[in-house]
């Protein structure tokens, strides 16, 4: 889901995850319409549809350690020994590029950077093994390499677990790598929709075109390199046998 600021993306994310009630219309999950603003009332559905919000500080309790934050959904799931749970937590942290070592596990949110918190929020959401993950700008505070790692983790989960992903972002370059379809939002309506590769290469609407143009590109223009083994000054047309 891409769109300029104030296009309605975050409002839509909140409605999809049951935090907000729509005035009209329906959200349909696996063929069945969802009730309105279900998040408070339906714990089962909460696990199935996870949200990674734009602001990690908002979502993560300052009173819990990293280990508790990532481990809580695992505890709720039940059926595991403490050491098994630790193993799951370590694996999740490693998958998002965070250390699974003692000191870090005992840290609390105020000791961590925005980038670390975003990754913990993602690990926590994945710990619940959701069917659908709505991620609203989940990598805005990560550098390119960390962002790439997040995208790989998300893609892997899609393949392995059939995880559905709604990725809300203004960064088309990232979105096209991790999603099958792109929905372009502007002024509260969908203005364009299609396969990711198509929309990001041949955007039809001016909204989409602008977003695609704004996507980061390497600033270095490609230049012609001389053919291997031939010094630039020599331009021999003779064939050597």
């Amino acid at each position: 889901m891409i769109g300029p600021s104030a296009s309605g993306k975050s409002t839509l994310a909140k409605i999809l995850t049951g935090q907000l009630a729509a005035d009209s219309g329906e959200v349909i999950l696996e063929g069945s319409p969802l009730p309105s603003s279900w998040r408070q009332r339906d714990r089962m559905l909460r696990r199935r549809i996870q949200l990674v919000a734009q602001d990690p500080w908002d979502a993560l309790s300052p009173r819990m350690t990293v280990e508790e934050l990532v481990g809580e959904p695992v505890v709720i799931e039940g059926g595991m020994s403490a050491s098994q749970r630790q193993g799951v937590v370590s694996e999740l942290l490693e998958s998002v590029g965070l250390p699974a070592a003692g000191g870090f596990l005992r840290s609390r949110t105020h000791e961590l950077s925005g980038g670390q918190l975003q990754r913990i929020a993602l690990a926590r959401a994945l710990a619940a093994k959701p069917k659908l993950l709505v991620a609203d700008e989940p990598t805005s505070m990560l550098d390119a390499s960390e962002q790439a790692r997040m995208m790989v983790v998300l893609r892997e989960r899609q393949i392995e677990m059939g995880l559905g992903l709604v990725l809300i972002s203004h960064d088309v370059a990232v979105v096209r790598k991790v999603t099958d379809r792109i929905v372009v939002l502007d002024g509260g309506v969908v203005v364009e929709e299609g396969p990711s590769a198509l929309v990001s290469t041949y955007p039809q609407t001016s909204t989409a075109q602008r977003l695609v143009q704004e996507a980061p590109r390497l600033g270095i223009a490609p230049t012609e390199l001389p053919p291997a083994g031939q010094p630039e000054s020599e331009k021999s047309t003779e064939r050597k046998t």
Binding site: L16, D23, G25, E26, G164, V166, V190
Partner: protein, 311 residues
């Protein structure tokens, strides 16, 4: 025709060339309307190499005869060419398949696997067949050579007008060369249709997972294959053969074999017509600042955040 090992690709290749006959094979293989299955052995012999030419992945060359002699054999035996003429033609064909003609003077064990494969390809083209069936023509070649060879094959197909059936476990390669793509799994077609559609917008859960399980340059992790393994052809699961590895399997998938149905512009073998729609929205609207909302716009009036969202 794409698929993992054990999917039946090579067997299918042999069937299409008439090499597997009843009772082992049943059904029909129609070549220009003529059924190869159950055809007279003499007829099959006439068709072989001259009309239908097959290059199997592990077709062995005779180890005690030079490669060039073997490549030229169809020209000598079937086209009655002299030794010299056949050798010249063989060298020309070698060049067309990006094989150094000097290598024709060697014995098979003196060539690399990739070189032997190209020699086989040259041999396939000697009698200018109408149908060329290639089983993994580029497996084991480095990416540069692979791309060059595929481009050559495409060029040759266009120039000489032969039809091409290519078996490959490399989907992007296969799709670049062929107008239609078929995905095989445990001996069944899972998806079939225009190459652009099948590889660009895969609909079967298997196709989708296979196409997305490609190496990602930015990852330091191992490749993440589809969980589980392809089934042993002798012990194919009941119902849909893919159900143990499918992320959207339900009870019906375990008990009933799904039919091949037309879905979203191509054939898909899935009880649900392919990937299920997980999430959709119809006419979502939300306005803030009408008393029950969370805030108001700068002008103090209501903010229409969503005005009918469908996806």
């Amino acid at each position: 025709m794409a698929g993992e090992s054990g999917s039946g690709k090579s067997t299918l290749a042999q069937c299409l060339a008439g090499l597997v006959q009843p009772p082992q094979a049943s059904g029909r293989v129609l070549l220009d309307g003529e059924d190869l299955l159950g055809a007279d052995p003499e007829r099959l012999r006439t068709l072989r190499w001259a009309t239908v030419a097959l290059a199997l992945q592990d077709a062995p060359f005779n180890p005690v005869t030079k490669v060039g002699v073997q490549v030229a054999e169809p020209l000598r035996q079937r086209a009655g060419m002299s030794r010299k003429a056949a050798a010249t033609r063989a060298a020309e064909l070698a060049r067309e398949v990006l094989l150094d003609p000097a290598l024709l003077d060697r014995y098979p064990h003196q060539l690399s696997g990739g070189e032997r494969r190209r020699a086989l390809l040259a041999m396939v083209l000697t009698l200018e067949p109408e149908l060329v069936i290639l089983d993994e023509p580029t497996a084991g070649l480095d990416p540069g050579t692979r791309r060059a060879l595929l481009d050559q094959i495409r060029r040759l197909a266009a120039e000489r007008g032969f039809a091409l059936v290519m078996m490959s476990h490399d989907l992007p390669d296969a799709a670049r060369l062929a107008a239609r793509t078929m995905l095989l799994y445990a001996g069944e077609i899972m998806e079939i249709g225009a190459s652009g559609l099948v590889t660009g917008q895969p609909m079967h859960p298997y196709s989708w997972a296979l196409i997305n399980a490609h190496p990602v340059m930015t990852s330091t992790k191992d490749l993440r294959p589809i969980r589980g393994l392809p089934p042993d052809p002798r012990a194919v699961p009941t119902g849909c053969p893919y159900h143990p590895r499918c992320t959207q399997a339900e009870d019906i998938c375990v008990s009933q074999r799904p039919p091949l149905v037309q879905s979203r512009g191509r054939g898909v073998r899935c009880h649900f017509g392919g990937l299920k729609t997980l999430l959709s929205a119809t006419g979502l609207s939300k306005t803030f600042g009408t008393g029950s909302g969370l805030g108001t716009g700068t002008s103090g009036g209501p903010v229409r955040a969503l005005r009918g969202v469908f996806f």
